[in-house]
């Protein structure tokens, strides 16, 4: 059976078209619609239809109804003439955008639901494929990636940390300047729309990325000065002074014998650390952080910081934010790899937001599909599968998800 049959593309296209016949009315136009470039990927299409512009919202929605694309994007950038070729569009500025994708993380659940196979020698494994195949040393793989509540929660957590930095450190207004979207697959997008970021150049955006990642953080600038200086605990201060102290505090609190392997320090240093743990925590809580250097060397502190910074940083994608002409998913449009919606989430609702309930687009009906292989899938609180080489009748949302991932086809 050729791989073209997997995914029953015609069927999925039909469902998308049917969805957009009414769903197009709910597609959310971005601000300054006339200044944005749009891009769309059709089913089975290799390249994007780009340099598309719309004069008003009805025009955009009609396009969605007529073409029902697999993937729909708009530019973070604003252009004089979005329909012109790249070099003559006339860049006017861009929103600041962030992408958090669980696929980039290292999560234990990936060892359960993600699978790789080496294209050259056929060697298989679970989780992320290794840099070089242990069988043949090559590096080209076929991957089957799924998602679960754990991945989605991990992505949400990173999004929440990002929002905290954007609001508390950078002063953006959550009600006016920030918006959060579930990506429709395995993550979240955060958009910052503000005159203070619109004309930020690429270097400035890169510097913001580094800030959010905690990249280049040096402890002596966070209050861990080599000489004792006056001042109090930084745990109640702001920015990275607070975060770095908090991160070290949490890391040191959680230390046990097993932590040694994940830290970049010698056995002696580690043992001493365990012995002095309570004293260090007390310094962090009560006094200026420079006091910590009475108990640990700068080298040890650097190693701790290296391990701890990720707890406070947000694991954003570095390329998306620094790309001045990025295309990002349009809210309330369908994601062709899942059948879910890219969906705007009010910031206050984010903690309780469950994409596996809220972003379902295909709510009605069931369909019988033949499944090649899936892990356990959870949708709207119900678990399905795992399935392997079997025919099952499933609710439309679950079936569409499996078809969009090309792991099944409509049964005859």
């Amino acid at each position: 059976m050729s791989s073209q049959a997997w995914g029953s593309e015609q069927y999925v296209m039909g469902r998308f078209k049917s969805f957009y016949s009414t769903g197009a009315a709910r597609v959310d136009p971005p601000t300054e619609l006339k200044r944005r470039e749009f891009g769309f990927l059709s089913f089975g299409g290799k390249s994007m239809f780009r340099h598309i512009g719309f004069d008003d919202t009805p025009e955009l929605r009609k396009y969605m109804q007529d073409y029902s694309p697999a993937h729909s994007y708009f530019s973070a950038a604003y252009y004089e003439d979005p329909r012109a070729p790249m070099s003559s569009k006339g860049w006017l500025g861009a929103d600041l955008v962030f992408d958090i994708d669980a696929d980039h993380f290292d999560l234990p659940c990936q060892k359960v639901h993600d699978r790789w196979m080496c294209r050259t020698c056929g060697r298989e494994g679970m989780g992320h494929p290794p840099d070089l195949c242990p069988g043949c040393g090559k590096s080209t793989y076929v991957e089957e990636n799924w998602l679960c509540e754990e991945c989605l929660n991990a992505a949400k957590y990173e999004a929440q940390k990002l929002l905290d930095i954007l609001i508390r450190d950078l002063g953006f207004s959550p009600s006016n300047e920030l918006s959060v979207n579930f990506s429709g697959n395995r993550g979240y997008h955060v958009h910052v729309r503000s005159p203070s970021v619109k004309d930020l150049n690429q270097m400035s955006r890169r510097e913001l990325v580094d800030y959010i990642l905690g990249l280049g953080l040096e402890v002596e600038f966070q209050g861990f000065t080599s000489r004792p200086v006056g001042g109090g605990s930084t745990l109640q201060e702001s920015g990275w002074r607070m975060r770095s102290a908090q991160a070290i505090y949490d890391l040191v609190s959680d230390l046990d014998e097993g932590s040694a392997s994940s830290l970049n320090m010698g056995k002696k240093a580690f043992q001493k650390l365990l012995e002095d743990r309570d004293a260090i925590l007390e310094v962090l809580m009560e006094s200026h952080p420079s006091g910590v250097l009475r108990y640990v060397s700068k080298k040890t502190l650097d190693a701790l910081m290296e391990a701890a910074v990720g707890r406070q940083a947000s694991a954003i994608d570095t390329v998306v934010t620094t790309d001045l002409r990025r295309l990002i998913r349009l809210p309330n449009t369908l994601h062709g790899k899942t059948g879910w919606l890219t969906q705007n989430v009010p910031i206050d609702d984010l903690p309780d937001y469950d994409p596996l309930v809220a972003s379902i687009a295909f709510k009605e009906g069931t369909v019988r599909i033949y499944i090649r292989r899936t892990p356990e899938i959870s949708v709207a609180g119900e678990a399905y599968g795992p399935f392997e080489e079997e025919e099952v009748e499933l609710p439309m949302a679950v079936a569409m998800f499996i078809l969009c991932r090309k792991a099944g086809r409509v049964a005859r």
Partner: protein, 355 residues
């Protein structure tokens, strides 16, 4: 008029009001050629010489009118000489001069400079932290516009106190950032190149400056790169990317771009780059060649791309195995240039010994 004193204008001749003050005097080139203005022409020549030789001009404020008038004249010398790197060096030299004077001013004067001349969103504060005194809070956008080009860790946003969008600064730090703004402003003053017929007194000084520039040129601009790529000289990041390519490791966009743009700028022939790529991947030759030619500036927007800076490569996880030399450079091509120079020196010594 009377909004700015002559002394104030002499200190900071790039201020909008200082320029207006000079305009009001309505001097022509002929006027300036008069012997009574010889001091102005000499000081203008002196400012440009200092830029060439030292990269740093001084402040001579005892004769404020001469100091003030010498600025537009030195600008003109720079424009007439027409060379880009001199323009950059001159702008820097004058900016360093201005920041030296600014450092002696009070906080209000510094704040006024930022707000009025450069539209800074700035707050005056008095805060003591880690044994240091902080006097300003600058909105992050203004901070980044000026500091994101700096390399030292203390300037990275992550190493600063950022609160509600504002970055805490000491006086010297605020002045250093103003220096960047001033440098950009002065660069705009001399951006045009003008081939004008100068009266004799100005032309003779311009000729002297031209000669001085020639004498110092090679010291200032750094050398050419060899035509064939010297493999022993390539930086660790590029080496890692190259090895990954050979092993068929799937590289991210930034890594591929860094590798390709480095090889192009290091002088590798496009055909050789294409051959290398397609021998190890299943990339389509036509598409690969198209992409490489695009980076080389032969297609599309016809911009020839240089590889990203070390800082950018670090952000995107492309920096690998940095060595001692990496600590001293900010750009993979700088690394390459230095290693090539070392290699050439060694080669020359070896050949001498064999003779």
């Amino acid at each position: 008029m009377g909004m700015i004193s002559e002394r104030e204008a002499a200190k900071y001749p790039f201020l909008g009001d200082a320029v207006k003050l000079v305009d009001v005097l309505n001097l022509t080139l002929e006027d300036l050629s008069d012997p009574s203005h010889a001091a102005v022409l000499d000081r203008a020549e002196d400012r440009v010489s200092r830029a060439i030789i030292r990269g740093e001009a001084d402040a001579q404020l005892s004769d404020t009118i001469t100091e003030l008038l010498s600025f537009p004249v030195s600008n003109m010398y720079v424009m007439v000489l027409g060379e880009d790197f001199l323009k950059r060096r001159y702008a820097l030299s004058e900016a360093v001069r201005a920041s030296g004077i600014l450092l002696e001013e009070n906080d209000d004067r510094i704040a006024k400079m930022g707000r009025v001349e450069f539209d800074w969103t700035l707050r005056l504060v008095r805060e003591h932290m880690d044994g240091r005194q902080f006097s300003f809070e600058l909105y992050f956008k203004d901070y980044l516009r000026n500091a994101s080009a700096f390399r030292e860790p203390k300037w990275k946003l992550v190493n600063r106190l950022v609160r509600d969008g504002y970055v805490l600064l000491t006086r010297p730090e605020a002045v250093r950032l103003l220096q960047e703004e001033i440098q950009r402003k002065i660069a705009r003053f001399v951006a045009k190149s003008q081939k004008i017929n100068l009266p004799e007194p100005l032309q003779e000084r311009a000729d002297r400056l031209s000669k001085l520039l020639d004498e110092n040129r090679s010291r200032l601009t750094g050398g050419e790169l060899p035509k064939k790529v010297l493999m022993e000289a390539i930086p660790p990041c590029i080496n890692y990317a190259l090895e990954g390519l050979m092993a068929g490791r799937r590289a991210g966009h930034m890594e591929r771009f860094a590798l390709t743009s480095f090889l192009i700028n290091a002088g590798m022939e496009i055909d050789d780059i294409v051959k290398m790529f397609i021998s190890v991947t299943d990339f389509d030759e036509e598409f690969t060649r198209y992409q490489i030619e695009h980076i080389a500036g032969l297609r599309g927007s016809r911009t020839r791309y240089t590889p990203p800076t070390c800082a950018t490569l670090r952000t995107h996880g492309v920096c690998h195995n940095p060595d001692r030399l990496c600590e001293h450079v900010k750009h993979p091509l700088s690394y390459y240039r230095i290693k090539v120079r070392d290699h050439e020196r060694e080669e020359a010594e070896r050949q001498e010994r064999q003779q």
